[in-house]
């Protein structure tokens, strides 16, 4: 797979969300809140994720004491008209880096939809 290629609907994506033992900013059942999938201005319309087939949960989560890891099937992303592309970082730090594109800053439906379809990865 080359940089910029669309990701197959059968692939899975990882997205991490802030949640510590002290600050439990996930749902009571451990699932992601919509804020985990919310764009911020610096994202420039591209939500960073990792391609599951190119990494491991431990590598993707970085610091498990600060973050939870959630997985999401790419077909779910495509179901709501979004796209995802493979975007490995040029410095070689993260070969799994990918982007979900098509969301806008004002979009509140997509973050909530993706959160409800995601599952927590137990590390």
């Amino acid at each position: 797979m080359n940089k910029g290629d669309s990701i197959s609907p059968s692939e899975w994506l990882y997205r991490r969300g802030y949640c510590t033992p002290e600050k439990k900013y996930c749902n009571p059942d451990g699932t992601a809140t919509s804020r985990v999938f919310k764009l911020r201005e610096k994202d420039e319309g591209k939500l960073s994720v990792d391609l599951k087939s190119k990494t491991t949960p431990i590598v993707s989560v970085g610091d498990p004491s600060k973050y939870f890891l959630f997985e999401l099937k790419n077909s779910t992303v495509m179901d709501i008209g979004l796209d995802s592309i493979y975007d490995p970082l040029d410095d070689g730090v993260n070969d799994a880096h990918s982007l979900i594109i098509g969301m806008s800053l004002d979009d509140e439906v997509a973050p909530g939809y993706l959160a409800r379809k995601s599952k927590r990865v137990i590390i």
């Binding site: 802030y18 749902n27 809140t33 919310k38 911020r40 600060k66 509140e108 909530g112 939809y113």
Partner: protein, 163 residues
């Protein structure tokens, strides 16, 4: 909004009355006549028995977050968002409606998540520094979002609890 709370006792009020009857005793006792003791008892009740106690605790925590609280540049929750979420949480508490969850977002916003008993519908109220949004999720319909106004809260709850 007033119409939500004016016509009946809330679950919290009923629990408080039961608590006072069983622990404070009959009105003729000296303990009940002491205004200071009554206030202490009342406050203790509120700490222990609030329906959405976890949510209120989280709101207090959100107020202490600083910029970059998530290590990825998230803005601290805005004072307007904090004020609005506290208002809505208190209205829902006074009507006996449980709040499923609340969470801060990366852009200074705070989200409240409400769900129906069957888990078939849910609603998110999202409070930004300068706007409020409501998002409707139904298990078999397309989700949609609207601008939220406080006056619409009864309609939002009505949609959430339709069968």
């Amino acid at each position: 909004m007033q119409a939500l709370t004016a016509n009946y006792s809330t679950r919290a009020e009923i629990q408080r009355d039961q608590y006072l009857i069983t622990t404070v005793g009959a009105p003729q006792t000296d303990r009940f006549r002491s205004p200071s003791l009554f206030i202490l008892t009342d406050n203790r009740f509120h700490e222990e028995f609030r329906l959405n106690n976890r949510i209120f605790s989280l709101c207090e925590e959100f107020a202490e977050l600083e910029n970059n609280w998530d290590g990825d540049g998230a803005l601290r929750p805005s004072s307007e968002a904090l004020k609005n979420i506290n208002y809505v949480a208190n209205v829902l508490e006074s009507t006996g409606y449980p709040i499923y969850n609340t969470a801060p977002g990366p852009n200074g916003e705070i989200m409240i998540d409400l769900r129906n008993k069957l888990g078939t519908r849910s609603v998110e109220l999202i409070f930004y520094p300068s706007r409020m949004v409501v998002v409707f999720f139904h298990e078999s319909q397309e989700p949609f979002q609207e601008i939220f106004q406080f006056d619409n809260l009864p309609n939002v709850l009505e949609w959430l609890n339709k069968y």
